[in-house]
Amino acid sequence: MLMSRGKRRFLTIATYVILVGFSTYCLFPFLWMVVTSLKPTDLIRSTNPSFWVPHPTFEHYDNVLTRSSFLTFFKNSMVISVTVTLAALLVSIFAGYTLSRFMRFHGIKAVSFAMLLSQMIPGVLLLIPLYLTMKNLHLLNTSWSLILAYTTFTVPLCTFMMKSFFDSVPLEMEESAEIDGCSRTGIIFRILMPVSLPSLVSTSLFAFLNAWNEFLFGFVFINDEAKRTLTPGISLFRGQFQTDWGSLMSASVLCVIPVVLIFVFLQRFLIEGMTAGAVKG
């Protein structure tokens, strides 16, 4: 680019300063969690908290992994989140395609409006009606209740994401396939899916993250420890009279790290996926 050397150097330095600053801001609480999880109990809550741990200990991790049901919670969350992701993806591919191609039908317009409306309902208010619904469907205290609820919560966003991606795919591609005698569903899967991998990945990540982090419904719908999910499970370390911060923090770190890894590995897709939908407008 055309810029004086001094200016460019200044810009580079400014960029680094900004990046380092924001990384600190972003990482600080997470690092605090990591540090706390490694501290022996008597150093965790002190009047002079420090980032330096003289004698790191893994006792909290040991406690979480061997003496609590953390692994069960983890497995449940994984199963539920993956199911939700697949279900939401399947539903929103078709719904997104419809919103993108057939907005001219009044019914479709109405559905798109209803989906937007559903985003405006505070979750607190859904608690009691949904509990009743789940009870009537005999789904309380089963993973299905959470799968259904989370899928419903994520479908609108996923649909909008898929829609904006499909908007950017030229119609000519479909038309030539149509002439070749491909069915509509065939077109979606054979023609559109292969070019939309990044969008699919970023949409899945959203769905997965939503399901993975949800807390309130996870707690209210599930009674049995064997079916409990991760965030409600972790909150059990907040005890009756005091919080077991060491275990709470190690469990949190163990909960966050897989998702961070997934995001780091897939972040290229994430950004490409957003690019595809977002810009060619």
Binding site: M1, T15, I18, L19, F22, S23, L27, P29, F30, W32, N48, P49, S50, V91, S92, F94, A95, Y97, T98, F102, M103, F105, G107, I108, V111, A114, M115, S118, Q119, M120, I121, P122, G123, V124, L125, I128, P129, L130, T133, L148, A149, T152, F160, S164, D167, N213, F215, L216, I234, S235, L248, V256, V260, F263, G273, M274, G277, A278, V279, G281
Partner: protein, 317 residues
């Protein structure tokens, strides 16, 4: 992710042959396909969203309290009246506006700064990108608890450091004072949400054509001019979309405020969703809770419609 609003305002090229008045068999087939494809989404909506939505609207006109069963039946506007006359209604309304506007504005600002920085060709970009995603994947509950602890005056690390660095004379209870509680939660909420903006805006930035920017540079446009004249217009669609969806999400958000302050001290950080929660889960008055929720829905929808009308007019003009 892009816009719900744009599709309406823009004229899409219609697929292939479209006959004038009568509906062609092909169009009929399209219609069938369209409804079939959207059906699963609709089923989810009806099963788990429509029913609660209708219950809320219905209950808002009923006397419905779990602890006072002497009053039942049609209430007319009594619930609405009671809610509006609540001592803290106006505070909560104002807090909701402050909370939403400051959060979204802060998130956008941080988002665009980090997106621009990450779009530069610097070393360690991938690493920085990974760091910035972290807040977004930490569950809200855990983030809220950790921040609350870090912000405590007597054994929280933030106050300790601020005092050590000489920025504060003595520890300050950020979440416990009337005038800082809400702002502190806004700060934490920005921390949590801005990475989403970063990713979206970064995605958009990466497809801004370098050629145009360089051409502008050759024409003598400075950095500022290039940013405001060339880059920003290209980000407009994405920006409007993320802002739009976040205004909705932030306004109805409940978790962060509830985990960190429960709306206190003395309702100074209470927003409408917290108030709805209080009506429902503390007073067990579902009539009042539903009335407030309906009003909130009304506010947001009128905002949405207003925005839509303005954007349509702009497009025409």
């Amino acid at each position: 992710m892009r816009d719900m609003h744009r599709a309406e305002t823009e004229k899409r090229p219609l697929p292939a042959i479209r006959l004038r008045s009568s509906i062609s068999p092909r169009e009929k087939r399209f219609k069938r396909i369209a409804y079939l494809y959207i059906l699963p989404a609709v089923v989810f909506f009806i099963l788990l969203n429509a029913y609660p939505l209708i219950t809320v609207l219905w209950d808002s006109f009923q006397f419905k309290s779990l602890v006072n069963k002497t009053l039942t039946g049609f209430a007319g506007l009594a619930n609405y009246r009671e809610v509006v006359h609540n001592e803290y209604f106006r505070t909560a309304l104002w807090n909701t506006v402050v909370w939403t506007v400051l959060s979204v504005a802060g998130e956008y600002l941080f988002g665009i700064i980090t997106a621009l920085a990450l779009n530069q060709n610097v070393k360690g970009r991938t690493l920085f990108r990974a760091f910035i995603i972290v807040p977004w994947v930490v569950p809200i509950l855990i983030a809220g608890l950790t921040w609350t602890w870090m912000l405590t005056p007597d054994y929280g690390v933030i106050n300790l450091w601020l005092v050590k660095l000489g920025l504060l004379k003595e520890p300050y209870y950020w979440l416990g004072e009337l005038n800082t509680a809400l702002l502190t939660v806004v700060f934490v909420n920005i921390w949590r949400s801005f990475p989403f903006y970063t990713i979206s805006l970064l995605a958009a930035l990466q497809s801004v054509s370098r050629d145009i920017i360089e051409a502008a540079a050759i024409d003598g446009a400075g950095i500022r001019t290039r940013f405001w004249r060339i880059v920003m217009p290209q980000l407009k669609t994405v920006s409007l979309t993320i802002i739009f969806i976040h205004v909705i999400w932030t306004a109805i958000n409940f978790d962060f405020i509830f985990i960190m302050t429960e709306g206190g001290p003395l309702h100074s950080s209470e927003t409408l969703p917290i108030m709805i929660y209080r009506y429902a889960m503390e007073e067990y008055n579902f009539g009042n809770a539903s009335a407030l929720a309906s009003m909130m829905l009304g506010f947001m929808m009128s905002g949405f419609i207003l925005y839509y009308l303005i954007s349509v007019r702009k497009n025409r003009g």
